[in-house]
Amino acid sequence: MSRGLPPGTLTSRLAAGALVVLALAGLLLPGPAPAGTARDTLVVGLGTNIATPDNHKATGLPAIGAASQAGDFLVLMDANSIVTPWLATSWQSADGGKSLILTLRDNVRMHDGNILKAEDVRYSIERFRKYAIGRAALNMVTAVTALDDRRVKITTQAPFPPLLRTLAYPGLSMYSKAAIEKAGDDEFRNHVAGPGPYRVTEFKAGDKMVMTAFDQYWAGRPALKTITFRMMPEMSARILALESGDVDLIDAISPQETERLAKNSKLKIVNPPSAGFVRIYMNVQKGPLTDKRVRQAIAYAIDREAIVKNLFMGQAEVARSLAPPGVFGYTGEYDVYKYDPAKAKEVLRQAGATNLKFTLMHSPGRYLLSTEVVEAIKANLAAVGVDMTIQNLEWGAFASATTTKLEDTRMEASLNWWRSINGDADSAIADFATKFLPPGNNTSFFSNAQYDKLYEQEQAETNQTRREQQLKEMQKILMEEMPAVPLYRQPNLWVASASLTSFDISPLSCLQPLYKASFK
């Protein structure tokens, strides 16, 4: 005899009924209109969290690009490091190259109704230097002065030619001083007011930032009424949201996904040049990699072309220098390290390092496909008799371990990312100067008197030809001494709805002002 209820008893019916009710309730509840239907609304899915709409306190470059839509730029810079006038319409050098005087655009209205004046710019720059995660970019600035309502003077310790390009950094947003003082420094995040094309109308931490067109934008009324930036840390979820039409533009996509997405006629892949590239830093002062021949052998042993072709599906680019192509002063002419395992073995033999073993620190998940990359490198090195152990560390632990002082460090090598923030080779290779030894970012512990001298010279050189030559000399030293193996320039992969037009993405993976963006 069966000891139970037949299916369809009260309890099971209740359970089934409740389920149906739950499902129907959800389905029938009114939901928001799908993003794709309202063509004056753009929804962007970012992999980075937007910690705050206040760009001076923001972290993460794509998030900074989102927040920059409210505070505008002094100047814009394209992928070829060409500077375009923006809020600053002209500039001139003064005080023997130690000062830069910017003239501001006339009659630029801000979200709080005030007109942008030199004092707002001065205040914004000073606030950026106080709080911003990228504030070290303006370390050399000694004074910012409002000369009158429309002219701002920025003075540096010594002539600093990359200053103008540095002002294009997307975190350097201009804001209304009156709005900051009225709201208070902390509360300004809820009352952001700048001259940008979009105003922040809603911010929900960890969820979304909604921006509404600023009708009085100096360059004309933005084409889109609303932009919503959604914070979507999971790549698969971003892709599915794009395919379902919930979002119109997503960033940080793996190259493996692009092949499938490229077949979807409703989507388009965007891969503008990136300022970010990946290196293997090697400890030149302590451990098994102090002999430069050993480091050179490692460079010969790594098949960078194969990494780019097979792992990045050709969407990355082999790095020929420790600076990225396209920046001022770049040269790839000193990269002699074509993949050559036989030569690597020979150089190792000459250096007496035939049983070389070392440990590479790596933070999984931090950079695109980095786990696959370090495995490929391990296999490359094993082929020439080098035993590389991969030590995986969580990012906080990794950052701490790689910036520990020489006397305490256990770092032999590490895989890390670097970038040029100002379209200039200077900010890409400055970290190899002695002054940035750990706890700074010179994580190779590279210290070279000739390099340091060139670094100081180029920082103060006003003659652009001479300066370009100095930067190239610095790259030559680095490629010879090999404190770090340049691996590849990262892809800057975004996927957009095919109908979305007139938007630009900077080499730092930030959206440029979106005032012209629209749907076809």
Binding site: G4, T9, A15, G26, G31, K204, G206, D246
Partner: protein
């Protein structure tokens, strides 16, 4: 006179076993929470990584890093830091996030409702599906209904929430276009995350409730009820189900607590602004005040959930009320 009566009534109320029990539990929670605060405080500082180094930014000089450490009080001895933290905690001040400089109460307050809402809807789905499948299985043991329900339960337990979430999005958002793929805004946004989160626990509850119900259905009082001529569904619903569900309540309580702290995968897949994601970000940035605040909140939530489970026991089983 009236005041005396009120006072007496209040005293009598406090003397009732249930309230005395509740008071004891609340008092016991205080040292537990203090211990949690100390453990979390120590553990986050033992793991390698310096928030000042991480947040000082690119090309920060050692001096700038040192200034940040001093500004946040991280250069003081650990006992001094802990006592300061404790003092502020007792005043309801959890400090400020070192990453955003916002009050920790605001950071957590902005996100905790999302996580509670997600966990609540997730446990509702789990309870409905799990109890339904469990009752169905127990009602026809070793039948195709039983095997079918248990296979589904096993599938639920074995499916990572991450994967089930993506599959749900693929079906209901991309293919059918019925539901949003993530984010917040309406109850519709919670359906897929709730099912994704609830499917795993539904499997656990289904197996637990099946086993419980089968055991109870073997008891003498059930045989008596049947002998009285009661309809089978009345026997199960009125007499067996309530007793069988007591251990399931424990499971539901524990699962709910686990969901609060463990919903981070679902929050990531569905882009929900919950405390799970906040905690992961805070850990990667070594944002000590936020990590401490969230851990303390989760510990307090567990205490409250356990208390609620105990009260539910009393409701379900009169013997416990005595």
């Amino acid at each position: 006179m009236f005041g005396f009566r009120a006072l007496s009534a209040k005293t009598r109320l406090l003397e009732t076993p249930v309230l005395r029990f509740l008071m004891q539990r609340v008092l016991l929670a205080i040292p537990s929470l203090l211990l949690v605060s100390l453990l979390v405080f120590m553990v986050v500082r033992l793991i390698p990584g310096d928030p000042a180094q991480i947040l000082a930014g690119d090309m920060a000089t050692p001096q700038a890093v040192a200034e940040l450490r001093a500004q946040w009080g991280l250069d003081r001895p650990l006992p001094v830091q802990y006592l300061t933290y404790l003092k502020n905690l007792l005043a309801g001040n959890l400090g400020r996030s070192v990453a955003t400089r916002n009050p920790v109460t605001r950071e957590i307050g902005d996100r905790y409702p999302t996580t509670v809402g997600l966990a609540a809807t997730g446990i509702l789905v789990a309870a409905i599906l799990g109890l339904g499948a469990g009752v169905l299985a127990a009602s026809k043991p070793f039948s195709r209904w039983d095997y079918g329900s248990m296979i589904l339960a096993l599938t639920g337990v074995s499916t990572p929430v991450f994967w089930s979430g993506l599959i749900l999005i693929l079906i209901f958002s991309v293919w059918l276009g019925w539901l949003p793929s993530g984010g917040t805004g309406s109850l519709r946004h919670m359906i897929l995350p709730a099912f994704s989160l609830g499917l795993f626990d539904a499997g656990v509850i289904a197996r637990q409730s099946r086993a419980g119900l089968l055991e109870v259905l073997e008891q003498d009082y059930i045989r008596t009820a049947r002998a009285k001529g009661l309809a089978e569904r009345m026997v199960v619903v009125r007499h067996a189900f309530k007793n069988a569900v007591i251990p399931v309540v424990t499971v539901i309580g524990m699962q709910f607590g686990r969901m609060l702290g463990g919903a981070v995968l679902v929050e990531s897949v569905f882009s929900l602004p919950g405390i799970g994601r906040l905690l992961v970000t805070a850990i990667s940035q070594r944002d000590y005040p936020v990590i401490q605040g969230i851990c303390l909140l989760l510990a307090a939530s567990f205490v409250i959930i356990n208390l609620a489970v105990d009260v539910a026991y009393g409701y379900l089983d009169p013997r416990i009320r005595q």
